[in-house]
Point group: C2
Chain length 344, copies 2
DNA sequence: ACATTTAATGCTAACGTTTGCACAAAAAAA
DNA sequence: TTTTTTTGTGCAAACGTTAGCATTAAATGT
């Protein structure tokens, strides 16, 4: 019932040769007479011989596939990253296996172990918000499995890393808010476990400080599931707006949070940008169609996916570990729109 | 350098047993004394034995992985489908391999062949706009490779199919436009090669006819790349609006087209919904934040992904082909918003 | 003419499992 | 006690490749 393919043995039998000769003739290595080589290769292509990859994998201990571990595909940022990953893999003839952690530590662990066990040649990882302990990676990494982190990274492992300039992006957005006349800028962000949260917060801090504005911890709300659960966002916004002196602007740290906050503000009838300004990280490119247009910090997601993929494949295909691990940082792009246009 | 795992042989040697006994003890089959079974199983779990999947695959000719072929991951609809696929696969312990055709026939063929050759157990496919010839599927299908089509399907192959009620969705949206007072409704759609185009067009036709409105072929624009190239959309809209009697409303047939047309109309200064109404298929759930809110036909993408995945896994795991192939049709949901609200 | 090199091919063992069959020892039946 | 059955285990082949070493025949050197 399964697809019966012709094997190297069949060829050997048909041509009255040994399997080793056939094998060698096909990868034109070693000393094989041009005659037999041609004979074998013609027979092979005529009969549509395709080497059995499972056998090859078993022999070589390589599968020409890479595993991707990320939170959630429908997140615009991740879907673009994934697209970038796939496009590089396609050209390099690697298969891309996708898993979602759904921001769950448990699920991340299971996925990573499953992928490793199913013998991917390398791993492309963006950590879940829940992940603090990274043993599931360190063990594999020590055993020599190539891993590249992107977006939500860690310095507990010595390896390549692909990130956006998170500090810079948050800084730029905050500066824009300040420039527009906002003075009490709140920050709605994700779990402080993940790298991007800290970096973005730093950019927010830096900009406030430069502007001589106070940093108020009460104005920072951490959504532990990165906005995967709608209630988090609702609670964060509610609490912020109930403060004795409520914020006049929101800086949101992720796709989901930005959209969530924006929608909520509008639903609750806040006037944007007069009453509350809002800016945030988002890769949704129709933000200009919103009412008012949403000021966003855009990350070159597709390019980041490509870079991560390239670095990983480099790691996989080089015999020796590199002398130095790269940290590739991509510039973000601030697109200022109506949602922060309080003043001309 | 690669992760050295303990093998069944190691266990056999350590316990002074034969490999076959160990193998059998581990899958507690056959007649093995409780004693040895326990011994083996304890040793195995203590030493973290994990069967080598490549060897198992080679033996069983199964890989516990499924291949997905779709156009483009960042498309909201597809990313949600993919998420549904992954979630079912995760629970059933299948790996999901993702490939993008980017609406290219060539690429689709290469991906399909590559996946089959790399021995996935089954295929989940949404056809590219360019695909007319489906030989690359029929051959594999005849050889017994389970395939399930979703979204852009075909009846050239006898297999399970998962679709939205495309005719109904387009019908509902058109009826809504008519109800709002639009009388010359154009249709911007994708390549007529793909099933969804025909079905959606049919719904559009039916609604027009029921309303006693004329069907004008000049009012139907086919974007052969489904809107992947921005120029197609631009050209379609330009041509429509340049007609002797230009349309007063647009019905768009896909995520990308809907967004593209909406953005273009706004950029060109058309007043929506007074001058031109617009409605279309789209899974973008922030359409309510647009200005005006965008009337959309929503497909239960995640559920469709789940269904497709379940059907495929069913196919893979049943010994015999099913007596009958299913065509699972999911209802769409029309969300009427400002972009079609010409009259109260 | 014989020794030595070179070229082309074959044999065999591996990679880690699974499984039909054979075998031995113990238990049951005669 | 002998025969038969049962129970547990081992052997070996298979899945489709690859690669080190051995082998043969031909070609070159002396």
């Amino acid at each position: 019932m399964k697809l019966e393919n012709i094997t190297i043995k069949d060829i050997a039998r048909a041509l009255d040769l040994s399997v080793s000769t056939v094998s060698r003739a096909l990868k034109d290595s070693y000393k094989i007479s041009g005659e037999t080589r041609l004979l074998v290769q013609r027979y092979a292509s005529e009969h549509q011989y395709r080497p059995n990859v499972m056998a090859q994998s078993l022999k070589s201990q390589r599968s020409r596939s890479i595993g991707v571990v990320l939170c959630n595909v429908p997140n615009v940022f991740f879907s673009e990253v994934l697209s970038g990953i796939e496009s590089v893999a396609y050209n390099s003839d690697y298969l891309v296996i996708i898993t979602q952690s759904q921001e769950s530590y448990q699920r991340e662990v299971k996925n990573v172990q499953n992928l490793a066990w199913r013998s991917v040649d390398g791993l492309l990882v963006s950590l879940s918000t829940e992940s603090e302990n990274l043993d599931h990676f360190t063990r594999l990494h020590e055993q020599g499995l190539p891993i590249v982190f992107f977006d939500r990274v860690t310095d507990l492992l010595q390896t390549h890393v692909v990130v956006a300039d998170n500090r810079g992006g948050a800084y730029d957005a905050t500066v824009e808010l300040v420039r527009s006349g906002y003075r009490r800028i709140a920050h709605v962000t994700s779990s402080p476990h993940v790298s991007i949260t800290l970096e973005r917060r730093q950019g927010y801090f830096d900009a406030l400080q430069e502007a001589g504005l106070a940093v108020d911890e009460a104005c920072i709300k951490y959504c532990m599931h990165g906005g995967m659960v709608a209630e988090e966002i609702e609670q964060a916004v509610t609490e912020l707006m109930a403060l004795p002196s409520p914020p006049d602007a929101l800086l949101c740290a992720s796709d989901r949070l930005t959209m969530g906050c924006y929608a909520l503000l509008r639903r609750r009838g806040y006037r944007i940008p007069e009453q509350v300004g809002i800016a945030g990280f988002s890769n949704f490119n129709a933000a200009e169609l919103f009412c008012p247009g949403l000021t966003t910090v855009r990350q070159p997601a597709f390019e980041m996916g490509k870079a991560a993929s390239e670095l990983l494949i480099g790691l996989i295909e080089s015999k020796r570990p590199p002398r130095e691990y790269e940290q590739r940082v991509f510039a973000t792009e601030l697109v200022a729109r109506g949602s922060t246009a309080r003043v001309r």
